[in-house]
Symmetry: C2
Subunit: 447 residues, 2 copies
């Protein structure tokens, strides 16, 4: 891991040596500068922030936590706020406004330029997790009658204020998207070529209301650096850049991890989430699964006589239900993940079913044989060994086939496949395996 040493900077801040501090700060990367400010105590934050080179202050600001951003905004002058909000890329500005308390929002927007205010207000209207909500309004737009040389002149003039310049967008007078051209392509094309001759017209794009998961999928599939976002009249309103997509990919995977472990997804990193909201995110599902577990348990009440007659039967319950749960969650996990990566579609239903069925026949056989041998060694009772092993075999087969197809079923009824992960599978398989086990016991052991 790359660890940055902030001790010199910290010393300069403490000693309030502004000039050497300014010089030292200029050597650092904006991300490291943000981390440096995060680790300062409250009194020094604003001092250090003001010592940053003016042209990167907004960039550093955009990498700070919302807590630090709010603290800084509340501590600096209106004029300083104006500089920062106008220098921020619009997606970062919109994120900031969304997190700040209402009274601070007013103060910030009052100091923004009218155009910036306008853009932010527009971005805030898009639904959460939509393409519109993660796009930025700063991109390079060109006209198709321009030459490559003219295009470069325009890029060079405006590059500084754009989030990315490496993909340029060709639009008509109504801002409708007509073409896309990369700077790499421009670089290998003679200066006097007209853009319409070299621009890509088969454009990969999304609309503002498309889900951010689709956005991430297109970036991965086509190896994009940025993606144009159009409104429903094909007017170019923004672009999504790859740094935000990496965040989306991490976020979506984290949400799946959380859902699959029976939790409501959390907005913040673990250490920054309060105990109460962690408890809230976890309680509802645990309660639901606990009640389900009780219903499963009540199946056992019907077989009281069986296990009072042969109490040994009870000792195999944890092994049976755990193995069923594990076998099922292996299958559901692979299918859920495959669906998240668009590798498995609803139409693959039968393929998944047969695959899981065959896998379960093999795995179940191996486990049952091991089980049979171990019970014979310990208890030397072939009928009990047969009862348990047969139940185990059927449990594994049911667990794997059900585990494989439940996530696809969820998708079919427009639910999130991740919901059908380990906890649900475990509960369903518990019920089925216990019923099977005692039915088989009653028959084979003549109870």
């Amino acid at each position: 891991m790359r660890r940055i040493d902030f001790s010199t900077l910290n010393r300069l801040v403490e000693a309030k040596q502004l000039k050497p501090l300014k010089e030292a700060l200029a050597d650092f990367n904006v991300v490291d500068l943000a981390n440096f400010i995060e680790q300062l105590n409250r009194e020094s934050v604003v001092y250090a922030f003001r010592a940053l080179p003016k042209d990167i202050a907004a960039q550093v600001f955009s990498y700070l936590s919302f807590e630090s951003q709010e603290f800084i905004v509340q501590s600096i002058t209106d004029q300083e706020i104006g500089h920062i909000i106008n220098d921020l890329f619009s997606d970062d500005a919109a994120d900031l406004i969304e997190e700040l308390p209402a009274n601070v929002v007013k103060k910030v927007l009052r100091n923004a330029s009218p155009e910036v205010r306008n853009t932010i207000n527009q971005l805030l209207q898009y639904p959460a997790e939509s393409a519109g909500s993660i796009m930025t309004a700063e991109f390079v737009d060109l006209k198709k009658h321009m030459t490559v040389g003219e295009a470069f002149a325009r890029i060079r003039r405006t590059a500084f204020e754009k989030e990315t310049v490496y993909t340029c967008y060709v639009i008509d007078e109504h801002r409708r998207l007509e073409g896309v051209i990369s700077v790499k392509r421009l670089l290998v094309t003679p200066d006097d070529t007209i853009l319409s001759q070299v621009m890509e017209t088969n454009i990969i794009k999304v609309t503002t209301t498309d889900d951010q998961e689709l956005v991430a999928h297109l970036f991965a599939k086509y190896g994009l650096l940025s993606l144009p976002v159009v409104d429903h009249e094909n007017r170019l309103v923004g672009i999504v850049t790859i740094d935000d997509v990496i965040d989306v990919i991490h976020e979506e995977a984290t949400e799946d991890f959380e859902r699959m472990a029976a939790m409501l997804p959390s907005e913040k990193p673990y250490l920054k989430t309060s105990v109460l909201s962690l408890a809230k995110n976890r309680f509802a599902w645990l309660l639901f699964l606990m009640v389900s577990g009780m219903i499963v348990g009540s199946i056992l009440a019907k077989y009281e006589e069986a296990f009072v007659a042969i109490p040994l039967l009870v000792t195999f319950i944890p092994m049976l239900t755990d193995t069923g749960g594990n076998a099922g969650s292996q299958s559901s996990t692979l299918v859920i993940r495959g669906m998240a990566l668009s590798e498995i579609r609803v139409g693959d239903f039968l393929k998944v079913f047969f695959k899981e069925f065959r896998v379960s026949l093999i795995v179940g056989l191996g486990l049952s044989i091991a089980n049979f041998i171990r019970i014979m060694i310990s208890y030397k009772d072939p009928m009990i060994a047969l009862t348990v092993s047969l139940s185990l075999y059927l449990t594994v087969v049911i667990a794997k086939t059900v585990g494989g197809i439940l996530p696809i079923f969820a998708k079919l009824v427009k639910a999130d496949p991740a919901i059908m992960a380990a906890p649900i599978i475990t509960t369903v398989v518990d019920a089925l395996s216990l019923m099977l086990y005692f039915r088989i016991a009653v028959v084979l052991l003549k109870l």
Copy 2:
């Protein structure tokens, strides 16, 4: 989802209409062309591949599955192979060589140019999942005494054969990395400026043997488009580009999903993995957990008298163990994911412990009260209700604290934290909760 219609292309291939086919192919994106070729039947694959525009054939080839790549390589002429292998970016070429059977590898390398052969052989030496194994050797290198104008001239001359041109690397005569400069920065800098005045010297870089997880972490942290890879003498040997990093991020998350569901990670997508290797990936862990489950079950044998006296006690076993497993896997999942994203470190041990402890007190209380009420309603036996609810409370507290700290403990002993996920937690918590439950039952119910 963006669906591409290949029906016209398919018709042209079937009718063997080469000229209109060539024209039609020129309109498509390289990724879509690869998908088009994937869905053709074997006889048509080579025909369609040969109809591709020469300058994008290698690119399309790089997006094909290894099966199709192998089939094409075995079906085309030596000269055609030479063109493709020399046009491929070196990381894609190395991946290809790694997957092909030995006899085909010979054929391919024989047709590669000496430099290309050399580069591939070098890339193949780096360990799997290292920075060296995912880097490409095609990057733009500049010298620090060049002017911005000279830099642009060099970029324009060589851009076509580079995987990315947007970040350029300044090296000395021994190929040691001295600076980094983005094309964006070059674009906003006057043509006569000397590179050494504007290049970034505080360079974010990795060495060839660094893990790809570190690479992905640096890309996300610093919002990079490419990252230089140096050898142990600080000589620049390659760069990692962001498209490969997105694959790494997906891969690493998938591996964690698999490990957390007690499976060995698979190399291929689910639908392309054979039944036998799926079974193999799943069997060892299931067997281990099954044996653990048996050991847990044998705890119950000690309490035969208790549940023969009050058989009702058995019916609460699934609810208790399931709730314990679920509560524990919620905690372990959040901590494992937090560690994967570098949000939680080993040093946060105590923070995690106290957080989980407090969450478990709240969640456990809620669940126990619900449990108590429901048992009173059904069975009207306050002592049984108390026994079960108290066991449940303690189970949740133990499950969450153990679930939270086991992954950190794993990291401490250099094991993968993901191993400590739901299946292990479930087994550990099962054992603890069953012991607790029957101990409490023996005392409270005087058995």
